[in-house]
């Protein structure tokens, strides 16, 4: 990207002044080198988002931002319903509420190294992953409705987890305002056999060791010490969320003109928040969030069962569960006043600072854990939300490394089997149904996650707490 197009706000914040159809400026949080390496499409897409009706403050991009469809991946934007603000299916994406949760294990590195192969096999056979995989759970229409209304709370009620888990999930495990009736029969059919499945692409389950602590006090409060073993699960709302995205994207693209919305890009498909289609999407999207929360809860249960076969006394409480692709009605201080706005985060993580009323009691004094996924061969990070993040980007941070290379390029450069062997030599066991899938997700196809996280930290979006490295990775 041409840095000259931007005004330098700080060493880690860059402003694209409002011009043309833009109603507000664009702001990218990144080091100069990350900004330079970003594709031009990020700036173009950010400018398009800034042109949507009712946008508040600015259109933001996180340090891991890259070319998406409509919104950049790593994009954040808030809209005010009272000012004709819109909700955009393209601003949430197909994988509604895709996110990460991290579990404690009480185990140390040596415990896992002694049984690393067996544990990898147990997990690979316990967690349905990849194309064509199905879960053991079949939902009838009543249960489907209850799942879409209840999220992880429904899953815990069915015995897949415990009440304590719910205290460590955004929205206490259940997104209010979900409207299962706004979810089409097609979307429900797509989900019928997919509960408790990991999916494919960049979705994974990793067994990780804590290798470094940057902030001892916060790390202690989160329960993180070097040498400890954690498990992170990255997946979303599966076929149901994909189908909701598919249906509303087209519907919103076709109806935008009726509401007098001129779309700079069809993929920014949106509708006024207060319109019938906008309200229906919000209800369906919230049901999609609940599907993702339920799905991660069931996978957590399967993970605990797999661990218990090798470690009968293992206790695996949840550290936290946070989503990446959502739109949520939140109250933020904007220009000195409290305003309720619809915050779209597409490939971005909510990062609430200490004292925020939506935080679970355990994190009120500290701030929210912000879970940043790695790339099978590189580190993941745990950060903590900061107070100033509210002013930076409606309390948002990056969500992962961010892709730097296309899938085709990656398969030209790497072979899955060789990559798996190379990672095994480095002590990382990868299990996946597809070697080509491993090549497409090669760690080298992503940005340097360390640089991304450092930018988020230096920009004040969230503060680094700990670094985790993979020992086992189950790829979808």
């Amino acid at each position: 990207m041409d840095v000259q197009r931007f005004e330098r706000m700080t060493d880690f914040a860059w402003r694209l002044p409002a011009q043309g159809a833009m109603r507000v400026p664009g702001v990218i949080y990144a080091s100069e080198s990350l900004l330079r390496d970003m594709d031009d499409k990020v700036g173009e897409q950010l400018a398009n988002v800034a042109a949507l009706p009712g946008i508040v403050s600015a259109a933001y991009a996180m340090p891991d931002a890259h070319w998406g469809y409509g919104f950049p991946i790593g994009g954040v934007a808030a809209f005010d319903a009272a000012e004709g603000g819109v909700i955009s299916a393209g601003g949430v994406g197909f994988d509604i509420s895709c996110g990460v949760r991290t579990l404690h294990t009480g185990l140390m590195e040596a415990d896992v190294l002694a049984v690393q192969e067996e544990l990898a096999e147990q997990l690979f056979w316990s967690i349905p992953a990849g194309v064509g995989s199905t879960g053991a759970i079949r939902l009838n229409s009543t249960e489907m409705h209850d799942m879409l209304a209840g999220g992880a709370r429904w899953a815990v009620g069915r015995g897949w987890g415990c009440e304590e888990d719910l205290q460590r999930i955004e929205e206490q495990g259940c997104m209010a305002g979900a409207d299962p009736d706004a979810v089409s029969d097609h979307a429900k059919r797509r989900q019928r056999d997919e509960m408790g499945t990991l999916g494919s692409g960049n979705h994974y389950l990793e067994v990780q060791k804590v290798t470094e602590v940057y902030d001892a006090e916060t790390a202690a409060a989160f329960g993180l010490r070097p040498g400890q073993i954690k498990v992170s699960i990255h997946c979303g709302s599966r076929g149901l969320g994909h189908q909701i995205g598919t249906e509303f994207l087209t519907r919103m693209a076709k109806t935008a003109g009726q509401y007098g919305i001129s779309l700079p890009d069809r993929e920014l498909a949106c509708a006024p928040i207060d319109s019938p289609v906008g309200q229906r999407y919000i209800g369906a999207m919230r049901a999609g969030i609940n599907c993702a929360l339920a799905n991660r809860q069931i996978i957590t249960h399967l993970t605990r069962q797999a661990f218990a076969r090798l470690f009968p006394d293992v206790d695996m409480p949840l550290l936290y569960d946070v989503s990446h692709n959502t739109c949520k009605l939140e109250t933020h201080e904007i220009d000195g006043a409290q305003r309720a706005v619809y915050v779209h985060r597409k490939g971005a993580t909510r990062a609430l600072g200490p004292g925020h009323p939506d935080l679970p009691p355990a994190f009120t004094a500290i701030g929210q854990p912000v879970l940043i996924g790695g790339t099978m061969g590189t580190a993941s990070y745990i950060l903590v939300g900061t107070r100033e993040s509210e002013q930076r980007a409606f309390s948002s941070a990056c969500h992962g490394a961010g892709r730097a290379m296309s899938r085709h390029q990656a398969t030209r450069q790497w072979r899955g089997r060789a990559l798996r062997d190379e990672l095994a030599q480095r002590g990382i066991l990868v299990r996946s149904p597809s070697d080509r899938g491993i090549a497409e997700e090669a760690p080298g196809a992503y940005k340097d996650v360390g640089g991304v996280v450092e930018s988020a930290d230096r920009a004040g979006l969230a503060r680094r707490v700990a670094r985790l490295e993979p020992l086992i990775c189950i790829k979808g």
């Binding site: 890259h66 990849g130 692409g201 994909h242 995205g245 069809r266 899938r407 597809s434 899938g437």
Partner: protein
């Protein structure tokens, strides 16, 4: 024109593009491109048939509806398809998909397609003759 398909680059996802003498032929080729994201086409035996119908007055939206119908059938039937007979008349698309149930050992499926997007969406005739149909699909 010799009907054919190809992929084109997108940073996170992937583009599918079909060429043919008619829009229907280009649509069928793009469907092959979509399947080729998931698996090797040669590995999919066309032993079972599934009928699909979708409609839209706009040819580009019809193309998106077509690919999404294919994604839906792949996902809900746990099938892969390697032959497509497509007919389009007055905004209505009728197709027969030929394929088989996913065999994870034999097909080694790589990645699932979540849906067809409106990004880089284009359906048009070409100056040299024939038709092109393309868009980015989310994987």
């Amino acid at each position: 024109m010799q009907a054919h398909w190809e992929h084109f680059e997108h940073l996170a996802d992937i583009g599918v593009r079909g060429y043919g003498d008619t829009p229907a032929e280009a649509f069928a080729q793009a469907a092959l491109a979509l399947t080729a994201i998931v698996t090797e086409l040669e590995a999919v035996r066309p032993v079972e048939q599934v009928a699909v119908r979708c409609e839209d007055e706009d040819l580009e939206y019809l193309f998106v509806a077509w690919l999404n119908a294919l994604v839906f059938e792949m996902a809900t039937r746990r099938m892969l398809f390697s032959r497509f007979d497509v007919q389009i008349e007055a905004g209505v698309l009728r197709a027969t998909l030929c394929g088989e149930t996913v065999d994870r050992e034999r097909h080694r499926p790589v990645v699932e397609v979540k849906g067809a997007t409106l990004t880089e969406l284009a359906v048009h005739s070409l100056p040299e003759g024939g038709w092109l149909a393309q868009c980015i699909v989310d994987v």
